[in-house]
Amino acid sequence: MAEVRFGQAINRALADAMEGDPDVVLFGEDVAAAGGPFGVTRGLLDRFGPERVRDTPISEAAIVGAAVGAAMSGLKPVVEIMFMDFATLAMDALVNQAAKARFMFGGQFSLPMVVRMPHGGGISAGPQHSQCLEAWLAHVPGLKVVCPATIPDAYALTRAAIADPDPVVVVENKSLYSVKGELPDAPPAVAIGKAATVRHGRDATIVTYGAMAPMAVEAAAALAREGIETEIIDLRSLQPWDEAAVLASLARTHRLVIVHEAVEAFGPGAEIAARMADAGFDELDGPIVRVGAPFMPPPFAKNLEERYRPDAERIIAAVRRVMA
């Protein structure tokens, strides 16, 4: 057991995967010599050498496109898109190439590749360095999308993504990188698509992921002081997502709040709400309420961004609404 930061847990996962498999290679902008903009890949160049840990030019389309070709030819590339906003520049490689290669080539190829992308975080990074665009990717058949909320999950989901035979996008919330916590020497494995119930409660279910999971825990503590017990499901994976776990929780609480940092409209919560309004219709005792960012680009000024980003207060208000 060691105390590490969230980013260091990812670093250890990358190192352990590289240690165990010479086909795992790392490339992206400033990931080698500089150790990544958030220090996540620090030390890996020294440890694994310049052949397997490479700085690329500022070429997102070629980074992800090359990951596709590398994965088709025997490597297990892990590439980094410095900010999720820059995935816009790599969308062809993600959507038309990586996602479809297995299917459109009749299963001849599987693409064991990982694309890491930091999103959100509320660090005043402005409209082009703060977006949570995971719904775009979860909408594309052929991609998997995970988003860890805890230090053990940051390790385990990164390992699971690298071990997976298909393209996996690992979404990392920037606000979590510096969070400190315990990482077991042998962190338990997490299967992609399996949620975690991080708090049990009888009154309402809060479904969330990433940095909003600790926010939901904070809200739940405040609600508990007034006698409202919420159950919190940390999805961990968005594609595939653990519909069974959410449905089972809904069957216990009969009330549902969905929380994410992404813009509420057409966000991941829309899919979860729609599925629960269908498969969970008989369980619902109230409206399904979503908490997400308003329909505007992430603003820069601190006070604006604080208002923009969902917080415990808004989660509490949403739970009160479904309890009403």
């Binding site: 086909d23 070709g69 299917f103």
Partner: protein, 322 residues
């Protein structure tokens, strides 16, 4: 075919005839409604596919584009499964999921035709990275048209390949057209100058001379295999047909009927072989053999089964482990 035979003038002729015959048959099948969707033919450009294909080894990888039938067949993609695929059958090389624009064959290192212009370039760069890191001794290659020179990822890919000295052969098929527009109106620079500006050695050859293409490709493949880094080969060629089958080509009306036999890579090579004293029966046999193979492949494709929807749905992701 052995490598030496493949690169011999007769070997090149056989491959060109196979491609021509296959594509003209595809055109007929398409016109008759036996092939849905749309297809892009490389009639007139066979010298490039055959010449480069003969210079590549079986372990080398190849990424292609929307006009990729010739590239696939030159790399050795099975003819029966090629027709089965394009006719939308379950036994097709991609199970009927991809069709003309997505023929691929992992067994021969054919990483796929591609519906997105220039998308094959970074894929070939990544494949070259795999060859470099895994020390396979193989190289990768990519075919793209002169229209692809306008895509941003083309430049990213050339630069990345140059920076990392990757074993990749870039093959630009300059047929003068960017879909419906003359490339001269679309690209300001000379293709080889573009490559050179990215630090990549480049040369231009007559793409309608299969022997010249093959010699140039062999030279570059040998330099790349020797650790020389990427090379860029421009092959100037002729797109005889439209951008896609059924393209009315109104934009080409001014061109007249000037496309003569002199630019046809098959006619040219046949004349050369005859001049070199190769018996006419041997030359004619190449065309006949291709026609017979294609006829048999089309018959098998017609007899193929329709793909199963549930099986397709299962193939979006790899089967769960365990």
């Amino acid at each position: 075919m052995a490598a030496a035979d493949k690169a011999s003038p007769l070997g090149l002729l056989r491959v060109m005839h196979l491609i021509r015959e296959a594509e003209l048959r595809l055109a007929q099948l398409f016109a008759d409604g036996e092939i849905p969707g749309f297809i892009h033919l490389s009639v007139g450009q066979e010298g490039v596919a055959a010449g480069v294909g003969a210079a590549l080894g079986p372990g080398d990888t190849l990424a292609s584009n929307h006009r990729g039938h010739g590239h696939a067949l030159a790399k050795g993609l099975d003819l029966d499964r090629f027709f089965l695929e394009i006719m939308g059958k379950a036994e097709g090389i991609c199970g009927g999921r991809g069709g003309s624009m997505h023929v691929a064959d992992a067994a021969v290192g054919m990483l796929g035709a591609n519906g997105i212009v220039a998308a094959g370039l970074p894929i070939a760069v990544g494949s070259a990275l795999a060859h470099q890191v895994r020390r396979t001794g193989a190289i990768s290659s990519v075919f793209f048209g002169d229209g692809a020179l306008a895509e941003g990822v083309m430049h990213e890919s050339l630069n990345l390949a140059a920076i990392w000295k990757l074993p990749v052969l870039f093959v630009c098929e300059s047929n003068g057209w960017s879909e419906f527009s003359p490339t001269a109106h679309q690209i300001a620079a000379d293709p080889c100058a573009l490559a050179a500006s990215h630090g990549i050695a480049a040369r231009s050859v007559d793409g309608n001379d299969a022997v010249a293409v093959c010699e140039a490709a062999q030279q570059y493949v040998s330099e790349i295999r020797g650790g020389g880094g990427p090379r860029f080969l421009e092959c100037r060629t002729t797109r005889v047909r439209g951008h896609f089958e059924g393209d009315p080509q109104k934009y080409r009306e001014g061109e007249g009927a000037a496309r003569d036999d002199a630019s046809d890579p098959i006619v040219r090579l046949e004349r050369r072989l005859a001049a070199d004293g190769v018996p006419g029966t041997e030359i004619a046999a190449a065309a006949r053999a291709a026609a017979e193979r294609v006829t048999a492949a089309v018959a098998r494709a017609r007899a193929g089964n329709l793909p199963d929807f549930a099986a397709s749905l299962r193939d979006v992701y790899s089967p769960a482990a365990g």
